[in-house]
Symmetry: C2
Subunit: 295 residues, 2 copies
């Protein structure tokens, strides 16, 4: 399998599936729809919906019920980027080489576009009830979507991140931020894929742990690359964490210990994934690529 | 029936029901929970959950399945107030005599508290699946909750309101703002009450129209009171719309025509409500009180 080629194919597939759920830009309120779509279509790896789809396939899922949830997940992720970029938060003017939403549409509209995406995510996900009104897993999937995005998930992680900005961060809190701010949506993605495919409770639990380990390893790898990579390899300035006095796994415990943690987490994830009878080779490669990457 | 006394009793009942669903304030992320609860518990008439509960009762609903939806509705409403008060939006420092959320907790936390409430609303509503996993109406109720709050409802109305701030507003757009920004959540509340009680599609449609008429009448009455009331009666400064060059029904068509519209909408609502075989005397009085009020 040529992974890079496969990845490109899968990304295009996911892109096509999720873009179909975007709102039409019409009505007196069309500006908010434009702002939502501008942000949603700014690119990105579509990692979360891809993890969801591939986990769904791994557990034998075959219907279209997964699609609105894939789109919903990416909408929630996009909403968090819009609000994160606001002047009161990270105050970023560019993301992925394009002007951020509040720069193009103004702050008020960016706040509304973020809210609009969160709510449209649930409007979209609940459309799954129409195609499969008697599927009891849809309710559980919605619950996971909401809880892992909210105060016990992503928003909880953002909260601690915001509160500790510019301050030294103890390791247990850095761990909390990494697990919730980024990890929670990866967990939710794989859990929802498993739930909608009809996996057992124990399988859903174990797949969540796979995602949690990969998510954390992914974040620690980010810290390491900022130190050991070159600007050319990374495609963005290296050493920025040190320059910004940012607390990372590397500043807390050094490159070697951080690299060892990545290895441990990675091994644990691979072991767990191996313990399933069902397999999805592409998913395994994808998870592996997230941990062992050069950028 | 002494309406004022009944209203007080019902408000206390609703308050107790919905407060139970608030998050505990603990964990590293407890500040966002504090900010959410601070805003939620700032008071208010609890009109939306009350409309939901009474409509549910009108259609014979008797279970606890309505409660998480009542709490969810008030969370969404509260979220919209927090974000509306932000400097980039209305820039309000006080609401109901208390400092607004961003004044107390800072802007970043206010943004997160609003997001947290939106997501916690759906986490809370989806809890209804646990008590009644086979109730097919829960999915429909979640869909209404999301769509009437989002870009085709409340957020849609806020969008037009934000875009036209300080500009003259043509009547069809003012109508759009009134129907969506405030009306949509009242519609959703009554629709969800009916849906969860097992009302037919046609009944849900008609109850939505009752809510739409009352919601619009309520807003137009607001415009009229600003002109014809005294500061003492209203409990807040009168004439502020004129002073702020705000477009209202009164500035567009004058007090008399506006009052006539309120009458027409009110009559239509009463007629529709009368057409139902099922009755709820308190709900009828409540809707009437919203239209014919002195403050």
């Amino acid at each position: 399998m040529n992974f890079e080629l496969e990845l490109k194919k899968h990304t295009d597939e996911v892109e096509e599936m999720i873009s179909r759920y975007l709102p039409a830009e019409d009505g007196f309120q069309k500006t908010v729809m434009e702002a939502m779509n501008y942000s949603f279509l700014a690119g990105g790896k579509r990692l979360r919906p891809m993890l969801m789809l591939e986990t769904y396939r791994m557990f034998g899922g075959k219907s279209k019920v997964i699609e609105p949830f894939m789109a919903a997940m990416e909408m929630i992720h996009t909403s968090s980027l819009i609000h994160d970029d606001l002047p009161a938060m990270d105050n970023d003017e560019y993301r992925r080489g394009r002007k951020t939403t509040h720069i193009v549409y103004g702050e008020a509209m960016a706040i509304l576009a973020g809210d609009g995406l969160l709510l449209f995510a649930f409007e979209t996900a609940s459309k799954a009830f129409m195609t499969e009104p008697k599927n009891p897993n849809i309710g559980r999937a919605i619950e996971v979507l909401a809880s892992k995005s909210g105060i016990y998930g992503m928003v909880g992680g953002q909260t601690v991140d915001v509160e500790l900005e510019g301050k030294p961060i103890p390791k247990e809190k850095l761990d909390f931020i990494y697990r919730l701010k980024t990890g929670a949506l990866m967990e939710a993605s794989m859990m929802i894929g498993a739930i909608l495919a009809g996996a057992t409770d124990s399988e859903v639990k174990r797949i969540a742990q796979v995602a949690a380990n990969v998510g954390l390893a992914f974040q620690i790898e980010d810290d390491i690359l900022d130190v050991v990579s070159t600007t050319e390899e990374l495609g963005k300035p290296v050493g920025s964490d040190d320059k910004n006095h940012k607390t990372t796994y590397v500043t807390i415990e050094g490159v070697d210990a951080a690299a060892k943690e990545v290895e441990t987490l990675s091994e644990r994830a691979v072991e767990m994934l191996d313990s399933f009878v069902v397999k999805n080779e592409f998913l395994t490669e994808l998870l592996f690529s997230l941990i062992h990457r050069k950028k």
